[in-house]
Amino acid sequence: MRLDSANPGLVDRVDLLAALDRASASKVAIISAPAGSGKTSLLRAWADRSGQARRLAVVQVQRDRPDAQTFWRALHAAVRQVSGGTGGTQPSAATPDFNAQAMVDRVLSALADARVDIVLVIDDLHELSPEALGQLTGLLTNLPPHVHAVLATRRDLPLGLHRLRLAGGLSEIRAADLRFTERETRELLDAAGITLSEAGAALLHERTEGWAAGLRLAAIALADHGDPERFVVEFSGSNRTVAEYLIAEMLERQPAEVQRLLLRTSLLDRVNGELADLLTGRPGSERILLGLEDANAFVVSLDAERTWFRYHHLFADLLRLELRRTVPEELPGLHRQAAEWFMQQGRLVDAIWHTQAAGDWPAAARLLADHSFSLTLDGQAPTIQALLRAFPPAADHPELALVRAGGELVQGRLDEAAAHVAVAQAYLKAAPPDRRRRLRVGIASVKLSLARRRGHLAGVVEQATFLASPVTGQSNEDIALDSELRAVALMNLGIVEAWSLRLDDGERHLQEGADLARTIGRPYLEVGCLAQLGFASKLRSFAIAQRRCHEAIALAERHGWGTEWMIAPALVTLAETMTWMGGFDDGERWRQRAAQALQDDTGPGIRLLLHVVTGMLHAGRGHLREALDEFSAAEGLQSQLMGRHALTSLVTGWTVATQARLGRLGEARALLAAVEGECANWGEVRNARAVICLATGDPAGAHGALKDVVDGTAPVIHDFTVVEANLLGALAHRELGDPRSANRCTERALALAEPERLVLPFAITGSGELLEALPRHDTAHAALLVDILDVLHGSPLTARDEAVAPPTEELTASELRVLRYLPTNLSRPEIASQLSVSVNTVNTHVRNIYAKLQARDRSSAVQRARDLRLLSAGPTRPRTVT
């Protein structure tokens, strides 16, 4: 049980609390004052005070974890907690591919959906990385009306809130406001049970200048002091700085075991009883820590059970200096003990940090090399970089090359990664025998990722040979490391196989990778494998591919990764299959989400795919110029991939065909002529040749190009190429004045298109007239034919089963707010600006609205909403929009 009110030295600073009340009525309140001014105490007193009408989401920026992901996950968790976890936002798990913008949107959306007034309280903001600070500005300038923020920092920060300041939405509490008055000084002494004359209290106030940390230190030093008046006079007569003088006094008055504990544990960011016992070499530390917190002696517990504690930063810094000055020879040993303890607890980062602090650089390098892969999977890439920077240049260890390679890989800098791998490889022979196996596996793993990113199948297969041998670790740690590497290797292997059209192998390896990832508790890898599995099964069956993609996305969303890079293959595959089936609006929706997930880079393969899908959508809608831009961009990316891949013939074929349809015949012929070797025989390229023939009035030539595709002897990626060939053949027959043959070809195209409902080839080839000409009694595919004509005439495919079913889930307040803008002709950015939220937030809401109403597009959503009487402002509380 916490009994804050019973703490001596924590007085109720009524005036200051009232000042913070006033400040927190502004959109953003900033408490900016130096160390020890009492910012955190003020926030705690304000937060703990009864009668707070608003819910507080409190986050303290961790000194040793200034990275954006740690901060945003903590803030998101705090917001979820106070908002009751509404709004369908899932908790967010750590990910190696942190998408900050998506996270800001997720926090905003959770805030928007909360039905209570919320204050975000962020302490120690000066510890936050500049990158995360910039993202925070984005959040603060978009807060919903019922959300406010209170920030505490040691110094003014470049938050970019000028507009807010001009609009009067920003208020500040500064060092002068935080100073104790003389009256408050007396109250503090009284509360601590210290008897001091009026004059003595005045002297103490003058000497400390009302500085909170000084007064609190003095109160501790004065407790049970025999002659407080003399203490104050001596303090006042000294020229030493307040903090140093009082810390020395305070320490001196503590029992020896307390001094020992304070000094020796000051090198930890966090301490618990067990660890303190270890560093002090004697039992009973937990009791001391609890006593210190109860005495309000700059020790605060970090959990409700009061097992972990931390010191006030200023206090810890001074103790650490004192420790280093008085017993420098003990420091390495203490750090070593701490490192060992953290290692046993599996807290790798702390263990590596203390190994570095002990000056054991080679050991630190080995630890980092062994665990950088796991740490990367845990989303700790920024921490790895910070640990790397801590190595002095003279202590650079060859094993760190592998860590650096991994870092470059995360950033997508493939050449730099390869250079570091070369260094690691050169070191392999000189490495001690017991290190070689680990190093070899590590090198193979990085090379495998490199080869995969470059689409280099032979390289992947070569590096993945270790998969054939069973897991043979000496220790549990070896086995765990091996399992992670195996899961990643299976994923990389499966991806490259799928891209090489070795679909069965690819699907098998990806499934094995997903299963292994699940067994070892690595959801990030499992999602990655499943998303790729969706992509890999596309050519076999759209239905299976779509089911697998939805599974991968659902699993990702459970971990808060709805727009992360690794589900992009699933998003793109959904976009592509929907587009093939003529669901252009759905396809566009998935495409947009994929583009959002691919904001940060990612490697040429997946970007190529995104260009292809975008081009398909344009082509399907008859926007040939835009389609050509996308196909050309995809064509340009092919050069970055090594060797032929699944889509080579398709990308080249469509680029040529689109050029020809736009009348740019010279370019089309030149590109076609440049197609080399085996690729020229593929159906997709032959179709393109036929399009050129048709564009130049040579239907006979078209037939010649199409013959092997139509009769099934030319290799093709998928039946869709044969459908297209039959339609081009039909167009050629029509040109030649043979409508019966044209009808026969069209009917064959319909038959081939039926199983997967391939609508897109009809749109791309402009086959509307062919279909119109086909006598209805002559076709076995009338329903498909009508659907295709609907798409060609510009009406989106309508769902068959959306009649009067109620929404699958009730719409949230903020979704309803967005819904009511849908009947207007405002665009999504305009709606966003009306509601003072980001476009991404609106997109998220619209996506949820569509899903819940089972609507396919804006107009069907509006129709459903009308039917369900959702458009009039209902019982939900209307909020004013500022």
Binding site: P34, A35, G36, R154, R155, W211, A213, S238, N239, R240, T241, V242, A243, E244, Y245, I247, A248, H313, L314, D317, L318, L321, E322, R324, R325
Partner: protein
């Protein structure tokens, strides 16, 4: 924006004791009345490192002054600034 190192005098309120001074190993301390003056040769990042330490330890910063090159008042430094 001179990236080169220069000599700085940093005046802090109060007489810094051994504990706090150990945070400034590169600076020569001298008590001046009730204040402490830390003197040392610093480039820009070292200067801001010292100032960050002053901030972290809650010290009262009174003055930061770049000393003119080659000026020898009490100390005798021969190193010339470029």
């Amino acid at each position: 924006m001179d990236p080169a190192a220069a000599r700085y005098a940093i005046r802090i309120k109060g007489q810094l004791g051994a504990t706090v001074l150990s945070a400034f190993p590169a600076m020569v301390p001298r008590w001046r009345g009730a204040d402490t003056v830390l003197t040392g040769r610093l480039d820009r990042s070292a200067l801001f490192g010292v100032l960050a330490e002053v901030d972290a330890l809650g010290l009262d910063l009174l003055e930061v002054r770049q000393l003119a090159p080659r000026r020898t008042s009490h100390e005798s430094h021969n190193n010339r600034s470029p």
